[in-house]
Every structure is written in structure tokens, then in C-alpha cells.
Amino acid sequence: MPLFEGLGSGGEKTAVVIDLGAAYTKCGFAGETGPRFIIPSEIQKPGQQQSIKVVQYNINTEELYSNLKEFIHMLYFRHLLVNPRDRRVVIIESILCPSHFRETLTKVFFKQFEVPSVLFAPSHLMAIMSLGINSGLVMDCGYTETLVLPVYECIPILPAWEALPLGGKAIHKELDGLLVEQCTVDSDSSTGQSLPTYIHIDPLMLFVLSRCPVRTCFISDLQRGLKIQEAKFNLGGTAERPTPPPDVDYPLDGEKILHIKGPIRDSVMEMLFEQDNEEKSVASLVLDALVKCPIDTRKALSENLVIIGGTAMLPGFLHRLLAEIRLLVEKPKYRDALATKSFRLHSPPAKPNCTAWLGGAIFGALQDILGSRSVSRDYYNQTGRIPDWCCLSSPPPESVYDAGKTPPPLMKRAFSTEK
């Protein structure tokens, strides 16, 4: 039982902490050790089989508003079981979240659910808070992308951000491609059918397929991984691929069995570490971010690596990441730029997909501070908007909110956010 629960000091009820991720949402209460629920960020419309993703940046405001309204309604009345009007809200967000999405989310909370106040907490900063340290290089491996942001003395070094669209979404896409190409499905009536025939019949199949990697795939260690990459790119050469792991018979909804070929199991995740044309991979992000940081901060940052996000929970990920970083730092590109060669990894008191949430829950338990740093409903009703780090005083131009237009490039400014 948390010490500061319920009507504790000050008589205020515990705040609600929500981490709205692109794939999963973690929701719960401040002061607790973990989220109450981790649910997919989707809503189900009656009559439609396919569920709708809630976190979409390119749909028009009305649709986004109604999706968010339904989703948050479900959060409060099916999972949290509390009245929205009674409790402050802490929302863990990515700093790259578009202002338009933020504004719509705030509007839903204030206008529809009439919450007393809202606080947007950056996920990287919250991860630091869960460890009791002041500085760290935080890497969030999520669904849409992997985002690195260094934090020094509790201030995010915004100009040093680095990101790549290598996350759960990219892995699913790669896996789908490989499965469709190479694997077969057995069912009651037939054996050895190729996958596309089934996907055509049953779109829900894709949903089941997206769960495959968690149970069957893993990330090899450095030596093995490099050999697999060599074999892949060495067309016609003599590079030999290491012995693949055994095949798996993966049952799909009771009747059909999908035969997953062994080589897929250890090679699909290599895409995270294959360096593309610009020599960028998930590991190089860490070093690129370090290079952008002031020299005095680099040692503190490299010895305090914090890895959060659901994709980081893949078996073998952390070990491989550390090995890759150590390999890359010897390359000429980084060898002279970075003097620090020691890299250390933290293990936060929560699973990587809940670490940012935990930081928010710890912060949300500080009732006075939460009150003074949140945006209250009165303030929102007066000004009609919520400040974002890139447009504090003036609202962004309206024209970029039409669906189909590309969002404006994000401004990078050194800016101190609060703890």
C-alpha cells in the first residue's frame, strides 16, 4: 500500500496518471508502484470489426476529438472507476507530440470531462525521476519511433534530441513481409497454404500476427547478429549464416497453424541495428546525441543510460544495445569526438514500458507541486489554449491543422522545463 494514498495530506484525492502511447496506454493513480491497466490505445466502434487507433496525428479535429472522447470515457468508467471531476490529471507525453493533438486532448479533458487541472510531463524527464538521479541519457524505444533525449541536472538538453522511426511498428511491418513471403499456414481443410490467402479472408489475422514477435522472436548477441547481417547483405558471397533456431508452429485462433521459419525468428529484429545509408541505427542514436551535448556533461550522461519503452523489452535487446554502442564508439566517426568510453545502464524499479508512467506517478504524488505546475481549468477557459514548449505564448497558425497537410518542422530551442 502506498503511503500517500487517498485523502491524505491536504485532503486532495490522488491524481490520475495516463501515458497515452501509440500502441498501448498505461493508466493508474499517483503514488502507486505501477499502472492499474495497460490497454491497447484503440477504440471499438459498434458494427466494425477493425478497431480504430486513438493516437493518429493526421486526421481532422472532429474525428480525433470523438475518438479521444470515447477512449478517455472508457479509461475512466471501465478501468479507473473514478469521477473525472475530482482528480487532477498527469499526462505523460513525448516531446515530439504535435501541438494539435495536445490541444485536442486538453479540450477533451477540460470541456468533456471537466477535470480540475492537467499537467503534460515529458516521458524522458519522468524516467529520470523514477531513478532518483539528476542526469541521464534516456532512450525511449516505442511503437512509432525510438527517441533519445539527454537530461542533465533535471533539464532536458533539447537540441541534442535524436530519433529514428525504428520501433514496434517497423518490426511488425518487416515481420509481416517475411511471413507473407516465406511461411505457410495449415488449417483443417488444407496444408501448406500461403499466408496472403488467409489475410484476404480475415483482416483480424493481422492483429494476431502482430503478437507473434513477442513470443517467438529474439535479438541475437553482437557476434551472431553481425554474421546474420553479413549473410543477408552479401549477395552471392561466401558469408555463412549462423545456424538458425528451430521453426515454430504458431497456432492462430484454434484452427489454423502458422509455420514460422527459424531464420525469421532471429533476423527480423536485426533491422534495429542494421545501419542504413546514413549509418544510423538504434545504437548510433545514443552516440549522436552524446556528440551534440556539451563536453562537460558527456561523462555523466554516458554512465547513466536509461532505456525505456515497450520495444526495449525484447529478449536480448539491452545486451545487444550495449555491445553495439561499445563497438560503434571505436569507429573513426566517434573515436575522436567522444573521450568518454564507459557506458553504464540503469535498471529502473519498473518494467521499461512502465518507467515513464512510474516517474509521472511519483511526481503526481507531490500534491502542492502538482497543483502549482498544472494548467487549471480556469486558466484554460480564460486563454482557450494550452502552452506547448514550441509555442508558449502565441498559438500555432491554424492552417496546418487541415488533414493531409504536413505538420510544420519542430523548432529546436534550449528550454528548461520544470521538474
Binding site: V214, H319, H346
Partner: protein
């Protein structure tokens, strides 16, 4: 709907949590207890494999008698089992319990202590920040104090506020000479220090046999099973512990403007009735289609509709066609002629079915307009001329205007004696879909 009569069409009424109950044992739980138990039932469990409700089963096992260890007797032992997927609590190594309920514990999060310590530490920092903020607020009114002032003088000044002449100069200047964040004398000197987390050089690699061992898929948890246990998220099925069943709630609705309760369910989870149920259907006369002739393009047809009065007093209804350019009239594809005279509906009388001797009230209906009358219902004709020949249903719309007496209002003692409740006239837009045109 006490003071104001407003139909909540466009804005959804405010939802509120009313009562908690368990969906399997249907036990009502007071909200204080629900909060303590984290919204989970004390008696019921969910199967961690298939999420159905677990049932408690009993077996007899031999156990030595307490008095005489050489003899054995049959004792009851209880375990949890799922009737759907055949999972049992023995699969994860949970020992059988000797009591039927109350013996099963959920495992604790191993990080609880550390997290609580972190919260305490940050609470302390928060206190300090608050102190500094308050100090700054007070100090802002005081001017900059020269460093020559001794510590003692500064403390005196802080204690007694605006004292010397110097303090009334230059308000708003920053106070840099004040001591840092040290706690004042006399305050609690106990400081909570937190050990910052230690980072490690090495991470455990995957076990070697991972590359060669064939997977035993039933032993590996699926993503959904893992996410149901956020604190542990185990990868192996042998670590899946059952969780207490999550409660459901009943919601009550409240008007956003006047905060009046619109809908309040019964407290008892087994009852589906409502304590308060203010829905528009029980106040507005209902229009229903009774019979439609063959509809022909640009030919006048007579459609028979019924009007039912849901309230107990007599209601007067006037029907009016929609005007040109009416913003609510977007779908109509036919011209409609509604009766011009006012229609009178008798009050709903619950005993009317049983009272055969009751004299029918004489309303003097025009037979061209009113087809029949039966207790609180009348049938009437409208003339429809379909204007479009296309596929799809013929749609007509008109306005219905009726008088509404708010009998739910509290009776105010009036000086003139019994004044009848005033009638308010309400207008609603009605749209009817009459089916396709028969060629």
C-alpha cells in the same frame, strides 16, 4: 428538469460513478472499500490464462492428526481452477489452502519499498521548494540587503518582517544574500537522503540454448496475458498468478447546466431499475407509422400515423409543416400536408385496460383527420406527395408542437390557492422514413 425545461440534445450529460459491484458475485461494494481494494473483488479471481472467472474446488487430502501423528485423516484442501481452459492454481506452484476464501494472496511488487522511499524524498524536496517559494514571496517585498548584515540580523529580520528603514527601499529586487535551502533552526532536522540508482556495466546476455532450444509455446505467455499483470509482466506461464476480479460501476447522469440528477440507477447490483429516470420519451408524445399505401411519384397518398400520449394529463398537439430553408430539414424528399386542426390526446390511464365500463370521453373528432381513438392514442392521416423518383426511402419531416406540464416541480405554496401548473409549449422536429417508391 426542476427549474429549467431543457432538452439535452446536443451535449452529453455529465457521467458520474454511482456504485461499484463485482460482475461475478454481484456483491455491492461501498466506494471507500473499493478504493482500498483497488477496485477489485475480495472473493473472485480471474484466470490469468483465459481471463474467465475462477472457481474454488475442494479435494480431500490425507493429513496427520494433530494429536496422533501416526494416524491420518482426510482434510479438505482448496484450490482455484478455471472451467474453461483447465488452468489450476497448482500449475503455478500455489499451495492448496485450507480455507475456501480469503487465503489467496496476490504477490507484492518487489520494488514497492524503493518507490515509496523515492516518493518520500521528492516530498521533502517539494516541501523545500514550497518553503523557498513562500520565503521569496515575503522577501520580494523587502529590498536587497547588503552582505554586511550579519546572519543574526537577517534571522531577526525574517522573524519580525518589515522593521528597519532599509527594508522599505527598492521592493522587487532579488534576494541573493539570504541563506540557501537550509532548514531553519528548530525545524525537523531529519533529512531523508536517497541513494541514487546505480548503473551497471554489464547486462545479462541471452542464455546460450536460446538459439538452439525449440520453443514450448504454451509455456510462453502471450502479450495480452503479460499486460494483465503490469507489475510483473512475466514471460513464463508458470509465473502467471491469478488476479482479483475487477469491479464494474453503475453510472448516474447529471445535467451540465443545472446539476440536476437525470438518471440514477438502483443501488442493488441485481436490480436493473432506476431510482430517477428522466428521459424525454416519457414526456414527449410518440409518433409511429401505422400503415403506408403504395407510394407513387408525384401522386398524393394518405399515410396513417398514430400519436401516443405518455403522460397522465390531456395533451394538445399541433402539427406544422417545415418552412422553406429550415436548417433542420435536410433529408425530406416529399411534400407533406399535415392536419391543421389541433389534436387532443387523452391522458394515459393505467387502469383503462381493465375498466370496460368507463365512458369514452367525447372529443368530437373530425373523421377526415382522426381515424380512430383508443385511450391515450389516436390515429390520424397525413398526405404525402413524393417529389423525387430516385432509389431510396421517401422521407418526410414536420414539426410537432405540444404542451408540457412539469409535474416534477416542487409544489410552491401560492397565495391564490391552487394554481394549476403552467403549460410550456415545446416544438420538436420529426422525420419519418416511409419506404421506397413503388413504380
Amino acid at each position: 428538469m426542476s427549474g429549467t425545461v431543457q432538452m439535452e440534445w446536443h451535449q452529453t450529460p455529465g457521467n458520474q460513478v454511482d456504485s461499484h459491484y463485482c460482475p461475478s458475485c454481484l456483491e455491492n461494494m461501498p466506494s471507500a472499500e473499493a478504493k482500498l481494494k483497488k477496485n477489485r473483488c475480495a472473493n473472485c479471481f480471474d484466470c490469468p490464462c483465459c481471463m474467465h472467472t475462477l472457481s474454488t474446488r475442494a479435494t480431500n487430502i490425507p493429513a496427520p492428526l494433530p494429536d496422533d501423528p501416526s494416524k491420518t485423516t482426510m482434510k479438505k484442501a482448496y484450490y482455484l481452477a478455471c472451467g474453461f481452459c483447465r488452468w489450476t492454481s497448482r500449475d503455478v506452484g500455489m499451495a492448496d489452502k485450507s480455507v475456501a476464501s480469503g487465503g489467496w494472496q496476490e504477490p507484492d511488487n518487489p520494488h514497492t519499498q524503493r518507490i515509496n522511499k523515492l516518493i518520500e524524498y521528492y516530498q521533502q524536496l517539494a516541501q523545500r521548494e514550497k518553503l523557498e517559494r513562500d520565503r521569496k514571496k515575503l522577501a520580494r517585498r523587502r529590498p536587497y540587503m547588503p552582505l554586511a548584515f550579519s546572519q543574526h540580523t537577517i534571522h531577526v529580520v525574517e522573524k519580525y518582517g518589515l522593521g528597519t528603514r532599509l527594508q522599505r527601499q527598492r521592493p522587487g529586487a532579488p534576494i541573493t544574500s539570504l541563506a540557501g535551502l537550509s532548514l531553519k533552526e528548530g525545524e525537523d532536522q531529519k533529512e531523508i537522503n536517497i541513494e541514487p540508482a546505480q548503473a551497471l556495466d554489464e547486462v545479462e546476455p541471452l542464455p546460450e540454448d536460446c538459439y538452439t532450444r525449440p520453443i514450448n509455446l504454451p509455456e510462453v505467455t502471450s502479450l495480452r496475458q503479460r499486460l494483465l499483470q503490469p507489475d510483473f509482466q512475466p514471460a513464463g506461464a508458470s509465473q502467471l498468478h491469478p488476479k482479483h476480479k475487477h469491479l464494474l460501476i453503475k453510472r448516474s447522469l447529471r445535467c451540465r447546466k443545472c446539476e440536476h440528477n437525470l438518471s440514477k440507477p438502483e443501488f442493488n447490483p441485481t436490480s436493473i431499475k432506476f431510482k430517477i429516470q428522466l428521459v424525454a420519451v416519457s414526456y414527449i408524445p410518440e409518433v409511429r407509422i401505422m400503415s403506408i399505401p403504395n407510394l407513387r411519384f408525384q401522386k398524393e397518398c394518405q399515410v396513417l400515423l398514430t400519436l401516443t400520449n405518455p403522460v397522465e394529463n390531456i395533451t394538445h398537439v399541433t402539427l406544422v409543416g417545415c418552412e422553406e430553408g429550415d436548417p433542420e430539414d435536410i433529408n425530406s424528399t416529399a411534400k407533406v400536408m399535415v392536419p391543421t386542426k389541433e389534436l387532443v390526446l387523452a391522458g394515459k390511464d393505467a387502469a383503462a385496460d381493465y375498466d370496460e365500463l368507463a365512458e369514452p370521453q367525447d372529443f368530437q373528432d373530425d373523421p377526415d383527420v382522426v381515424a380512430f381513438r383508443k385511450s391515450n392514442k389516436i390515429g390520424f392521416f397525413i398526405k404525402v406527395v413524393p417529389q423525387r423518383e430516385e432509389d431510396g426511402d421517401v422521407t418526410v419531416s414536420f414539426k410537432i408542437r405540444h404542451d408540457f406540464r412539469n409535474l416534477a416541480a416542487p409544489i410552491r405554496p401560492s397565495e391564490e390557492g391552487d394554481a394549476p401548473t403552467e403549460a410550456i409549449w415545446l416544438t420538436h422536429h420529426v422525420e419519418l422514413s416511409l419506404g421506397p417508391i413503388i413504380a
